[in-house]
Structure formats: C-alpha cells, structure tokens
Symmetry: C2
Subunit: 274 residues, 2 copies
C-alpha cells in the first residue's frame, strides 16, 4: 500500500471531513492551525473511566481553561456529537501517550493503545477566538509573525476535583490599548473557547515574572501602545493530567488538534441531527 | 424551639445568603421566583455516584435543556463553586424524592436521605433569561398574569447517554413579532440558562398538538401580533431521571430552586475566590 503524503498547503481549502480523511490515512500528520476554516478544533484528553467523573468535575469547575465540548461513551472511540464518523483513535494527526505521569510515546495512531475502559474528553481551543479576533480586524502577533503563542504558568489556583488540581496556564497576546475592550467582548462570546481574558496588563498580578521568557511557545514583541492580555490556556488540563500521575492518559500533540464538523461559532458544540 | 415563619414578600429585598438562611431553618419553604434578584437560581438533581458519569455525559450532550452549573464531590453536600456555605441537604425550600421511578416523598430537608455516594448536579434555570428579557422591556406573559410557564413535551430527540434519554420538554412564551429577534439575541447570551430558543412559530414543527393544553404549568393567551417562542426546559432532565428508574434520585420541587451567590449574568457559574 502506498501512502500519498499531502502538505498543510494542499489541505488549506479542504472540508473538515477531507482533512480528517487525510489524517486518518496518515497522508497528513502535521499541525491543524488554519485548516478547515470555520470549524471547531478541539484539545483531546483520553483517560481511564475510573477517573473520568473527577476529571469532568475538574473541567466543570474550571470552565475557562477547560471548556468541555464533547465526552465519549466509555470504550467507544466515536464522537458523534462533534461530527460524522469521527474515530478518536485515528483522526488526530499526532498523539502523546503518558504513563505514570511521564511522556512515553508520540504516535500518529492509538488503535493499539485504546482499551475498553477509556473515555475521550474534547475541550475547546484558542484557534476559535483567534479566528474571531482576526475577522474583526484585531491583530494576533504570533500569527502575524509565524510563531507559536507564548504560554505562562500563573499563580492562579484551579478549583480541584479528586486527583486533579494545580495552577492555571495562560496564553498572552499583545493587543493595541484601543482594542482591548473589543477583544474582550469578542472572546467572551466563545465560552467554549476560553471566553474573555483572565487578566490584562501587569504580568506580576498573576505571578508571571518575565514576559520575554514563556514556559511554552515563543516570546513575541509587545509594541508601543499595546497591552499584554492573558487568556486561559488549554495546556492547563494537560499539565493537570500529568501531575495526577495516571497509569495512562493520552492527549493530542500541541497544535495537532481534532477537527470537528461543528461550526466554531455555533451556539452549542452538539452537531444537529434533527 | 420556635420557628418564625416568613413570607415571600418578607424576603423580596433580602440577600441570597439571608434567603438561604430562612430556607435552611425552614422559616421559608415557598417558591423562589423573584427572590435574591440578580443571583443565579438552579435546578437540582441528586443521584448515586454509579450513574453520575452517564448523567454528566447526558447533560453535556443536551446543553440547552440541561446546562450544568455545578457538580458536587461524591458524598459531599456542599457546593462551594456556587456560594459560601451552601448545604444541598437543607438549602432548597422543597425537594422531591423518587425511588425506582416513582415520587415517594415531598420534603423540606433531606439530611436523613443523603448518603455518602450521592452526587449533586445543579442545572441552570429559565428565571435567568426571563429576568434579562424583562430588563430589556420584552414582556413575559406568565409573569404578567401570575401564572406558571406553560411546558410541553416535544418530538425532539435528546442525545442519549447510558440509561438517560428521551424527548425534550420546552417552555412557551408569546413574544411580539417585532421583538422575537431581540429576545433570541438576549437569551443566547445565557448558555447556562437554556440559551436561544429551540423553535419559533408553528407548534406542530416540534410535535406540540395544542398550545392551549400544556403538559405542565398553565396555558397563557397568545395575543394578536405575538408569536409563540419555545425554549429548552429544565423539566427535561427531571423527566429523563424519572424514566431511568433509578433506585433513588432527588430533585427540587418545581419553582423551589437553589439560590446561588453567583451573579446570573456572570461569565461563568464559578464563584471567584482568587
């Protein structure tokens, strides 16, 4: 069998189902930023059923970093509320497998790892509100400059549940002072994608020492007249899962998201079937 | 010990904590409509831990009738994300206890019924968006006329999870044709309180035979120039719980809600503690 490899550029104009098909066949294993424009993209956490109730409680109590957009049945790899024929074992371009709190594998397929007690939780992603900011003419520096968004640990306590807890991770985007209010208004309309900012201005207020040294991602320039704005970040649940030291859990690789058939500006994340 | 009884009128100007105190001491056991203005009120479902994961999945898949606003720890009757010192065993004015799918008790205190495996789920309530409609000058007929909102079974399938499934229940409010778009816009801003309408106009489209004969609540007049507008209803999860025939579950009595300390227009339903 020959696998024909396709590039990110080849897929930019493709429909969500076609991008997923390329991902499923491993013709494409790259990052999904900018693909299937207008469709919801999701962070993924797959974990054993015996901790799923606590993890859902944790996400409910921390809805800005952990906005739940879908939950699968135990042992069932399909996510029908997010799209037609989505198989979570094959439809993410790259996965990370963690055992006892350590990264043990980065793979493009988890059919061999999937077990009958696994539960998939899909969480909203910042691509959604970034697209909305761009549509309204608000610049997003890391996209302009082809970098990864800068991410920082904060001193903001999460509300714990069971084994799950810790501090919030945020992203930072420099926004022109005159557009901060509008950026807040726009992102608030997307509760499934981290909602309005967590903080604006002085990084010290949320325990960030140095904006030029992000904990993950790339530093970006803050220009004259711009204010740093901080949003809750989907790296938060990944950290929390690691710290919980579960026997096994699986996440997407950063930037390598699940693409849903649901529109990113839909009122709910549930695909309408009647 | 003397219990001093207070009336609904006595409590209209009281703070949420004071209303809850009157409820906890059973000085007040009435309905909560119009009390603690501006605070979130919640539908309550209490059920055994072994079905809680499926019930949370069910609510996530049906967010318009079942918007989750809080989930307690197993066996823990306190709901700190909704307010200071909320004890779910005493702080609801009236409860319904169901065993094997049948109503067996209506009580004002469940301390004797509460067990260590019980999980509390709090769901958003239509009071929130009704208050928002009234603030913006959109009339709400059943409030104007001192009736209970009319509720109807529909033919809209719910997305099932485990034992939980069935059809959606909706409320109907006649809205002047010129204000339907605005009512939709306003209610869409409250995803934790059923969000935008499910349908507008012809009742037959969602399987309602006769608007003058609601399945619950009171019929209301639809005047010339008004259009019936249907919102997802919090009776939906109560029906679904009944149909599941659980060994035990407990709900609030209709209209007798839990009053939270969270503002009803807050971005999330999580009480800020830092």
């Amino acid at each position: 069998m020959t696998i024909t490899s396709v590039s990110h550029t080849d897929l930019v104009a493709s429909a969500a189902a076609d991008v997923r098909a390329a991902i499923r066949t491993k013709s494409f294993t790259g990052h999904t930023a900018g693909l299937a424009a207008g469709k919801l993209q999701c962070n993924i956490a797959i974990l054993p059923e015996n901790v799923a109730l606590d993890f859902l409680r944790f996400c409910q109590r921390n809805p800005k970093p952990c906005p739940i957009v879908a939950v699968g049945d135990s042992g069932d790899p399909y996510l029908p509320t997010l799209g037609q024929d989505i198989d979570i074992r094959t439809d993410v371009p790259k996965y990370r497998v963690f055992r006892n709190g350590a990264l043990t594998d980065e793979v493009t397929d988890i059919r061999d790892t999937w077990t009958d007690d696994m539960v998939t939780v899909a969480l909203g992603c910042s691509f959604t509100f970034e697209n909305a900011l761009l549509r309204e003419g608000i610049p997003v520096r890391h996209i302009e400059t082809g970098k990864n968004v800068p991410m920082f640990r904060t001193n903001i306590d999460l509300v714990p549940a069971g084994k799950f807890g810790g501090n919030m991770v945020v992203t930072m985007r420099p926004i022109p002072a005159t557009q901060v209010a509008r950026a807040t208004e726009i992102s608030r309309l997307f509760p499934h994608a981290h909602g309005a900012p967590i903080a604006v201005g002085d990084p010290a207020q949320i325990g960030i020492a140095d904006l030029s040294r992000p904990d993950w991602g790339d530093a970006v320039e803050i220009r004259a007249g711009e204010i740093p704005v901080y949003w809750a970040c989907g790296v938060t649940p990944q950290n929390v899962l690691l710290d919980a030291g579960l026997a096994i859990c699986i996440t997407h690789s950063p930037g390598h998201m699940l693409i849903a058939d649901v529109a990113e500006d839909a009122e709910t994340t549930i695909l309408k079937t009647n």
